[in-house]
């Protein structure tokens, strides 16, 4: 396990350092989600009571679209100078690379959420009526659900034509139960209307199932020729 952890850490540190220096993905994501927030506020009247009902959907759609921006860049930067080929021939376990990439994306999207959540609260005049602490596990589980499959399908679409389009085409249908769980859980917590337990359980199940599937199949995808 030692090499897995060390390679994961090394890759993760490298990615974070790269992102920190360039801030390409982060800037793009922040600006993109800000745009989504503003456009939604024009599309839907941000009246206090109504917005609480739809805010869950708005927040997660905004984060989903923004995450795609980051996810598309995940592997693209490894294609330059045949870095990915080097990975392939190296004896390093493929899954450590995948975990590093997924964790990197997770941190990035979490950071985005941390920045954007207050903006949402202000723009939509939100006030949490349910148990607010539940938003943290929901956000963590939901983000992981998005990035684990996102990272995987980014790898799948890496070698396809027009891969920027391919990623959402592959990711969104698979993510439907996760998105629904996030949106419903958030709505329930915001409106205080019932219990979000089922959705959190469903998110956990989704995360477990698809993390397992990704780890089981990533090597196949990475080695696909």
């Amino acid at each position: 396990m030692k090499p897995v952890r060390s390679i994961t850490l090394a890759t993760l540190t490298k990615d974070i350092r790269l992102e920190w220096r360039s801030k390409d993905a982060l800037n793009a994501m922040l600006f993109f989600s800000l745009l989504v927030v503003v456009i939604f506020s024009f599309s839907f009247d941000p009246n206090a009571e109504e917005s609480r009902q739809i805010a869950g959907g708005l927040v997660w759609v905004a984060f989903l679209f923004s995450a795609v921006v980051a996810l598309n860049q995940t592997w693209a930067r490894e294609l330059r100078n045949q870095v990915l080929d080097a990975y392939r021939v190296s004896p390093a376990p493929a899954n450590s690379l995948f975990i590093a990439k997924a964790l990197g994306n997770f941190l990035l999207v979490s950071l985005l959420e941390a920045v954007m959540a207050p903006l949402f609260t202000i723009f939509y005049n939100l006030r949490v009526l349910g148990s607010g602490w539940q938003l943290i596990p929901v956000a963590a589980l939901g983000t992981w659900a998005l990035v684990v499959n996102g990272t995987f399908f980014a790898a799948v679409s890496l070698r396809t034509r027009s891969r920027e389009i391919m990623l959402p085409l592959l990711l969104f249908p698979i993510s439907i139960p996760a998105i629904q769980s996030m949106v419903e859980a958030t709505r329930i917590i915001l409106t205080g209307d019932g219990s979000a337990r089922f959705w959190i359980v469903l998110l956990v199940t989704y995360d477990v199932v698809f993390t397992t599937a990704c780890l089981a199949l990533f090597e196949t995808v990475l080695q696909a020729e």
């Binding site: 027009s162 391919m166 249908p173 439907i176 469903l202 199940t205 599937a213």
Partner: protein, 618 residues
């Protein structure tokens, strides 16, 4: 293999045509849904095929990933492509069926949504295969297929739970309830609020809007009744109610309609017409027939009634007047209470699944109750029908009694008239007998007098100035009744005549002098309360006797010799007389004879006072 393609194509086309023929022509039409149900013959097999092919695709993908067998990959592609085609058929035919049956094209229920997500995943599968390099395609596609297969149960659970969290309130009547039942069978929780003017929902005493509609009908009947009464018309009022008669029944009872026609009760129109005709015979010339639209076509019913009764019949189809307007307070209260209960159920369903289950059990029990309710409704209708029959029976009985009473009364009046006639006849006969006896007594006395007295010495009046023997005893008089058969009952019988006037009646003013018709001897001066009253009889030669009756007083006495033109008394109204007059009677040898030939003509003219009837007679 490739050479077999045309053969397979032809076989497929033939089988498809046969299936089409079976589905569209041979299969019977479904009872509740109608022809649209035939789409099932494509929808369901397509769904089976699609799901089977997706499963084949999953197995082939796994096989490829494990053994890298290119044939498995080929099978996966084919299965995915054909599966997507069949899945598309499912998704297109589903809404076409749902629209007429549920009233909506699409609902985000578990099966539909899961199928849609499956379709999306396999479309993305096909897109991935097209966009990736051929060397990588099989592996990537196989991986995606496995992801899709893992995703489907999660989609299923998330949608199922989402639907239980969002019960659909359905407000409406039978159609809406049917749609709600369809959604319920798909696992979409629904709370139905019965709202229809028709009141045709099982298990409801009264639905929202029903009483308002009934009230509208009653008010309109009140307006129509004015015209029905004044113009003596029959009105057929067609109400709503789909295939039930609740509006017609309630409004008919409330407005006092003469007949109520509802689909639940078989009433031949001939009965209605008979009833109208009976009422018409009693004098009731207008009628309101309350008819539910489910019974038939208002214009047909009116035409038949008009043909059968030949009375002017008009139709009023109230139509959608009944569905609108301001609701009654009772409806507002019902709506508020049902709405509150629906909200309560909705929140209960959102809170816990156990509660939903309990409610389901309750709903099941309620449904069983509803079947009983339905039976009760039917029995109530049957009771009403009995009641109507009883009413009809009692009306008929009453009618018979009225006829009987009328006949009896006619009989009684005829009998009493006969009795009265008999009594009158008897009294008249008695009176007649008394009069006849009195008159006979007078002439008997005259006869007795003649036997002991001789009038032969009295000269005949032939020697007088005229060739007629008598002069008029009252020269200025009118004749009110001549000699001969009489129509008056009080004249006694003579010979074969029941009533015979034995003299002539002369009328002059009361107290006028009465002169002797010829010379003679006063044979009798008498008085009787009946018959001649105060009278004078003068015996003349030749067996002639003259009588002057009903005098107020006689001025001669028996044995007096009187000459022609000598006063014998004054005119009066004594005896059986109805007014002042003189009864002048001539008897020859005791036989009454018409005195006219003995009297000069031209004097008193015969004049019978028809209007006066019995005035101045006898």
């Amino acid at each position: 293999m490739k050479r077999l393609f045309p053969i397979f194509a032809v076989l497929t086309a033939l089988l498809l045509a046969y299936a089409l023929y079976q589905a569209l022509v041979v299969a019977p039409t479904e009872r509740t849904m109608g022809d649209v149900q035939r789409i099932f013959y494509y929808h369901v097999p397509s769904a089976w095929t699609a799901f089977l092919l997706f499963f084949v695709n999953l197995v082939a993908s796994v096989v490829y990933l494990v053994w890298r067998n290119p044939k498995a990959d080929a099978l996966a592609v084919v299965a995915a492509e054909v599966g997507v085609v069949f899945c598309t058929v499912v998704l297109v035919t589903g809404p076409i069926w749902a629209r007429p049956v549920w009233g909506i094209w699409w609902t985000w229920d578990v099966r539909l949504t899961t199928t849609l997500v499956l379709w999306l995943i396999y479309v993305s599968y096909l897109v991935l295969r097209r966009f990736s390099d051929s060397s990588q395609t099989p592996k990537l596609a196989a991986v995606l297929a496995i992801f899709g297969a893992l995703d489907v149960p999660l989609v299923y659970f998330s949608i199922w739970f989402f639907r239980t969290q969002h019960p659909q309130p359905v407000i409406g009547g039978g159609g809406s309830a049917l749609g709600a039942m369809g959604l319920d069978s798909l696992g979409v929780p629904v709370v139905t609020v019965p709202s229809t003017v028709d009141n045709d929902l099982l298990g409801t005493d009264v639905t929202i809007g029903h009483m308002s509609a009934v009230d509208t009908v009653v008010q309109n009947v009140n307006r129509v009744r004015d015209t029905a009464t004044s113009h003596e018309r029959i009105f057929v009022i067609e109400t709503m109610g789909r295939d039930t008669g609740h509006i017609a029944l309630d409004a008919g009872l409330a407005s006092g309609a003469e007949s109520i026609l509802v689909p639940e009760i078989e009433v031949p129109l001939e009965d209605v017409s008979r009833r109208i005709l009976r009422a018409h015979a009693r004098g009731k010339s207008h009628s309101i027939i309350m008819m539910a639209e489910g019974y038939g076509h208002g214009f047909d019913v009116a035409r038949q009634i008009q043909e059968q009764t030949e009375l002017e019949t008009r139709v009023i189809v109230l139509g959608h007047l009944q569905r609108g307007g301001s609701p009654l307070a009772s409806d507002r209260i019902i709506a508020s209470r049902l709405g509150a209960r629906a909200a309560e159920l909705k929140s209960l369903m959102a809170q816990d699944l156990q509660g939903v289950q309990d409610e389901r059990v309750k709903a099941q029990k309620a449904r069983e109750e509803q079947i009983k309710e339905r039976q009760k409704l039917d029995s109530e209708l049957a009771q009403l029908r009995d009641l109507q029959a009883q009413q009809q029976q009692s009306v008929d009985d009453l009618q018979t009694k009225i006829y009987q009473t009328q006949t009896e009364m006619a009989l009684l009046s005829r009998q009493s008239a006969q009795l009265a006639q008999a009594v009158t006849d008897m009294l008249q006969k008695q009176q007649d007998a008394i009069i006849a006896a009195a008159m006979q007594a007078v002439w008997t006395q005259v006869q007795l007098w003649s036997q002991s007295n001789n009038v032969g010495t009295i000269p005949a009046s032939a020697g007088h100035s005229t060739k007629y023997r008598f002069i008029w005893p009252e020269p200025q008089a009118n004749i009110s009744q001549p000699f001969g058969p009489s129509k008056y009952w009080f004249e006694p019988a003579y010979g074969s005549y029941p009533h015979f006037h034995t003299g002539i009646d002369l009328v002059e003013p009361f107290g006028s002098p009465v002169y002797a018709a010829d010379d003679g001897i006063v044979a009798l001066v008498g008085s009787s309360s009946s018959g001649y009253g105060n009278y004078v009889v003068i015996a003349h030669s030749g067996g002639l006797d003259t009588l002057y009756g009903h005098l107020s007083t006689a001025v001669v006495k028996v044995g007096d010799r009187v000459s022609q033109g000598q006063p014998v008394g004054l005119e009066g109204s004594s005896g059986n007389s109805t007014g002042a007059h003189l009864h002048f009677e001539l008897r020859i040898n005791q036989k009454p004879v018409d005195p006219s030939p003995y009297l000069p003509p031209g004097a008193p003219a015969p004049q019978i006072d028809e209007a006066g009837g019995s005035r101045f007679i006898l």
